[in-house]
Every structure is written in C-alpha cells, then in structure tokens.
Symmetry: C2
Subunit: 405 residues, 2 copies
Amino acid sequence: MGELEALNETTVKSYLAQRGLAERLGGGPEDWAAEPITDGNVNLLFRVKNPHAGRSLIVKQALGYAWRYPDFKMPKGRLAIEHAVLQVAAEHAPEQVPEVYFFSPEDAVLVMEDLNRHREMRAALREGTRFPRAAEHLGRYMARTLFYTSDLYLPSGEKKARAAELVNPVLRKVQEDLVFTQPFMEHPNNRYSPPLEPLVREIYADDGLRAEVHELKERYMTQAQALIHNDLHTGSILANEEETKVVDPEFAFFGPMGHDLGTYLGNLALAYAAYEAHAPNEEEKRAFRDWLLESLIETWRVFEREFLAAWEKDVQREEWSSDRYRERYLKRLLQDAAGFGAAEMFRRLIGMAHVSDFWSIEDEDERAAAESLGLDIARAWIASWRALERPEDLAALVRAGRVLL
Amino acid sequence: MGELEALNETTVKSYLAQRGLAERLGGGPEDWAAEPITDGNVNLLFRVKNPHAGRSLIVKQALGYAWRYPDFKMPKGRLAIEHAVLQVAAEHAPEQVPEVYFFSPEDAVLVMEDLNRHREMRAALREGTRFPRAAEHLGRYMARTLFYTSDLYLPSGEKKARAAELVNPVLRKVQEDLVFTQPFMEHPNNRYSPPLEPLVREIYADDGLRAEVHELKERYMTQAQALIHNDLHTGSILANEEETKVVDPEFAFFGPMGHDLGTYLGNLALAYAAYEAHAPNEEEKRAFRDWLLESLIETWRVFEREFLAAWEKDVQREEWSSDRYRERYLKRLLQDAAGFGAAEMFRRLIGMAHVSDFWSIEDEDERAAAESLGLDIARAWIASWRALERPEDLAALVRAGRVLL
C-alpha cells in the first residue's frame, strides 16, 4: 500500500468505513456527511456526522507539511506524538481529553471524539464568558499529566526511553525561535501594532530581560522534567460550563513543567489585558477580570493540591524522600510558570504568532493600548519570577499592570 | 560471524593481526607480548607490546557484564559511547585524550594509545605528587568538550539527535543510585569507617541536606546541557609533568556541565582531606595542600577563560546574544560545580564506591579522621553552593574544613 493521499470530504468517509469505524457512526458512508474544519493551519481536519443517528466524530490527518502553507514542511510523526500524549492523558486525566477511536501511524490519521458541544476557550473569554470548572479541570490535568510522566513517578529507564522516543525536534525548534528568540531581537518575523514601536525598542535593547529569557530558553531546550503539552494556551482548550478538554498536543516533548503552567496562566493574563478593549462597560470589566484572576489563583491551588496528592500516593519514595525538597519543588514550579508565562505573553504581543484576543480589536490605538497592558504585565512577571511565593503574587502583578500608551 | 568471545593473552594478538593493526606495533603476533591489566572492574584490558620496536597499544573489550563481577550486567554499547566521546574530544581537546586506533561496535573492542608514560592522578596525589600542567589541561578539556556539545554551539536538531543516541540509561541509573540516593539514607550498599557512625547518622537525618541533593539529582536526571564525561574523578585521569589525559568516558551522556567540574574539583578536595594522613610532615602537608588549592582555583580560571574564548569565537550569536546571560552562565556553573562536587565527596566517603585516597590509610582512626575532614568540606560546599561567586570561595571552604573526630 502506498502513502495515503490527502483526504477530502468523499474519501474521508470511505476511509472510515474501510478502517472498521462505521459502527461508531451507525449506518454507512451513504448516511454520513463530512465537512472540513478550516480553523487551524497545520492538519487536515474533518467532522463526519451521521445526522440520522445524531453521532459525529473528528478525523485528523497530518500531511508532510502545514496544509495551509505547503512550503512549511512538518514531520508526519507529530501525530504519533499527539497520540502518545492522548494515551498518557487518557490514563491520568481522561475527562480532560477527547477520546481516541482509532490511530494509524502509517497513514498519520487519528480519529477521535467530536467536541462540538464545547467552545474554544480563547474566543469565549474574549466575550467575557466564565468557565466555572476550568480551574479545577486544568489544575488537575496539569498536575496529573506532569507528575505521572516525571522522574518522581516513572522508573529511571522508562522515563529516559520515552523521552528519547518523543524528541520532537522540528516542532521544538519552531517554539525555540518563535517564543524565546525572535521576539527579543530585531527580526523580520516579528509583528506588532505600530503604536507599540517605542515599547518594542525598549524590549529589544534590554539585555537584562534577554538574559532572563535566554535562561528560560536554555531550560526549555535542556530540562526533561516531564512530558509537557508544550502549546497549552487557551486556543488549545475546548470548554463549556461542565467540561474542559485539552487538545492538539502535537508539540509535546519532555520539557519543563513550568512551561505548560506558564503558557496557560499567561494566556489568562492576556485575556485580562485584552478585556481592556472587549469589556462592554466598566462594571463588567472589573467583574470579569476578578473572575479571571480568581481562576488563575484557583488553577494553581488545584494544581498544587493534586500534584501533592499524586506525590503522597505515588512518588518513588526511596528516590525522593525529602519533605523540604517537595515544598521547594512546588515553589520552583510557580516561579518557572511566571517566567515561562511572561515569555508566552511577549511572543503573542510582538512575535510572529498573535492571538485573537488582540487581533480581533479593530481600532489600532485601542488594540495597542490593550497590548501595552499585556507587555507591562509580562515585564512585571519576568522581572520578579525568581522571587514569587504564591499565586496571589502573580495575580497582584496582573492587577498592578498599566496601559502604557 | 558469531559474537566475539572474551579475549585472552593469545587471542588478543591474533585479533589485532586480523584487524589490520599489525603495522601499529610492527612485526607480527609472534613478536608481541600481551598482558592483562586488572586495575579496573568493568572491562577487559590488555597491553600488547612489541618489545623489539618499543611500541605498545591498549585493547579494551566490553563484555555484557562487569568482568570482575559477572552477575553485574552492563550493556556492551557502553564502548560505543566511550568511542563517541573520544571522537568529540579528539576534535576539541585532542591532547587530553588517548588516540583511538580502531573501534568495532560489533565486537565491542576499542584499540588505542598506550598511556604507560603516565600515572593515575589519584595514586600520585596520595604521595604528594604535583602536576604543574593539570589545571591548564583539564580546565581547557572541560571548557571545550562541554561548550562544543552544548546548545551554545550545536544546532538545535543535531544536539537533540546526539542526546537521543547517547541516553546511556543503565550507567546513569548506577550513578543516580550510588551518588545521589544511597549515601543519604540508611542503605545496605553504604560503607564507612566505624568511627564516622555519629556523623553518618547526622547526614541521614538531615532533611535539608537531602533536599539539596535531591535537587542536584533532579538536575542530573533531567538537564541535557552538554555531553559530560560523567565520571571525571582523579582515577579517570592519567598524567605526568607534561601531559594530562582523560580516560574511561563510558558513563557519558548529555547532562549538567557542573557535574564534570564538580567531580574533578571535589576529588581535589578529597585529596586535600586524605593528605591529613598521607603527609610525611607538617611542612609538606601545608605546601602540598597549598598546591592543591591553587590548582583547584587555576582549573576554574582556565575553564572560565577557555569557555569564554570558545563563546566569543563560536557561540550561535543569534541564539544567545545577552552579555548578562553569559556572565550568569559561568557563575551558575561554579555554583553547580560546588553542589555536584559535594555530592561526589559524600558518596566517596560513605557510599558504596570508595577511593584509594582513603582506603589506603590503614589505621582506622587516622582514616576516619581524614574522612571526617572530607565530610566537613562536603557539608560546607553543599550548604553554600547557591551563593558562591568565585573559585576562591570554594578553596576557602576547603581550608576552613576541620577534622571532626
């Protein structure tokens, strides 16, 4: 059998039938409707429905390049990484990931649960939507996926073997460049709202800031602490009032836990900053921002509680027996989260990959004002990351942020 | 061809002839004499000489176990790791390693330069022998092998691919256990001179000390900073007045640079402590210890100078452009060296693998007295490793050490 060609609305149905997945939908291809989902840039995605049975599923196919930018080559093996991470999560935090129905590494095709009852968290936050259970779900998801893939739990040889399987060099290099390098230097990939120019110049000229980011980059490149999602922003989260699902873990590798924590918390801070422009009025601005910061603090508290519970129950006790080490471990993670969170904020504001929180603000001055608040918070986080003690410290720095334009 | 059997004095000669190595020695097997070298525990080692031509070479064969302890299984692939490291060193610090003449991964046989004009540094230090060029050579060796295998120099993908090739999980686990775990808990593998009992009890009970060692262990297990030798103690160094050679890199993997630095500097501190018993008189005790500490400081200074020279010349400048980062990088390495050096000292004094510096002291009380000085220095290093600024700080802590019995 040759290589599977790029699927389309017709062939995706016959593919499902050939792979014995008809039962999932009921009926046969003639009963189904397939539609491409074109939100993303990278993978082919289809929703295939049986409208008669009210059932649907998602088919994801990885090509050897980003489908929207065919010149941008990407290894098809990224889907095997996604699958490996979904398996880990299915074991330790099954409610926070889509169920996998089928995976073919040869075809680079993954068939999974349709999350059509959920919204992209980023888009919903822009509108001031609260997710009352997100902190509980995401704190728990991070605690369990990170603890159970770390040296605290996995036997030494097994951890090293898994890390060597999931090196993911191409996608990591993308993040090394886009998150940790380009936003802090004059670089043709960087984009930012023109009124930010003086602020951006300050950032480019700040050797002390770059020293901090270099250290975070070094950690990102060298610290195989746990299997991290590595793209855990609010666009990788689908949620509603009841449920919270983490998707798209194709960037995963064994890296610093603080990167997942910081990426998520940093994106809450970005939502806070962007709400400068999205809020319908001052009262709602204050109320929604209060909720965002409560959720930030609660996410950390749940993370900490669940991480310690996993430690209590399942740590390799002969290997890691010091109480003081455990205390410091958690404190280091909070500090790392602030550092990595700041890097994430900077890159979303002045690097290549922006987010809809801000680009949805049409008026340039309004957008730049909100973005300047984001930059102010990012600078505060990175200026003090090594000294933070509690999640309330992070929240206080968000609240102290100022619009600089 | 089946698996190569364990070589002996006869078959090692025919092996060399069959592999086209006769030219190295001149003549043929009938002209050669082979003798086993039985200093080590792990590999088969032979010196093969042509006495007529005054030439010799070393043959090293890895079996699937430690030759002296056949129940102790060890992967034969360790010799491929040794060979890979010798290749790296041959490129960046050729004068500090033996020349490789031949390597067969299938046979797990390495043929290399005979270093019979050198002495084991550890044995010589015990007798008060100075090595006037060791600091220059080893500082340079560490600077260049570490810099040129780090992310500072290697392209991102190449570094990750090399790290995934050289995982070395079995030998790393040995060190995780023997260096970072067992010496800090009641463990049947631990051995120590009986008079040390009260001190050892204090160490076992010290949760703060264990927290520091856990953090170093975590770093050892997760931080893929550069290709480290991972066993760079004075028994892995063969030297004379003119030359210094680093051997036996079979434990190598991508780990924290500070571990190589600390292992070597920690072993200088152990030589200092052991000289408590070996010194022929007070004057020579003072003089040799002065030399040891000067050499410790000079090793660091040369390391720093050579590391910065390599950085200046060959760093990936787009990736690592901050001056402050470079300054901090070096300071962090000094601090890491103190932490890892302390762990090395503890394990040589109260863990499973002791060193001849101390076990050559026959009188138990004298030995324990010298060992207690080693423990006092180790505790001082680990109590302050995060705050050290200069190599003189490390030397001062050695000098402030006290015999505790």
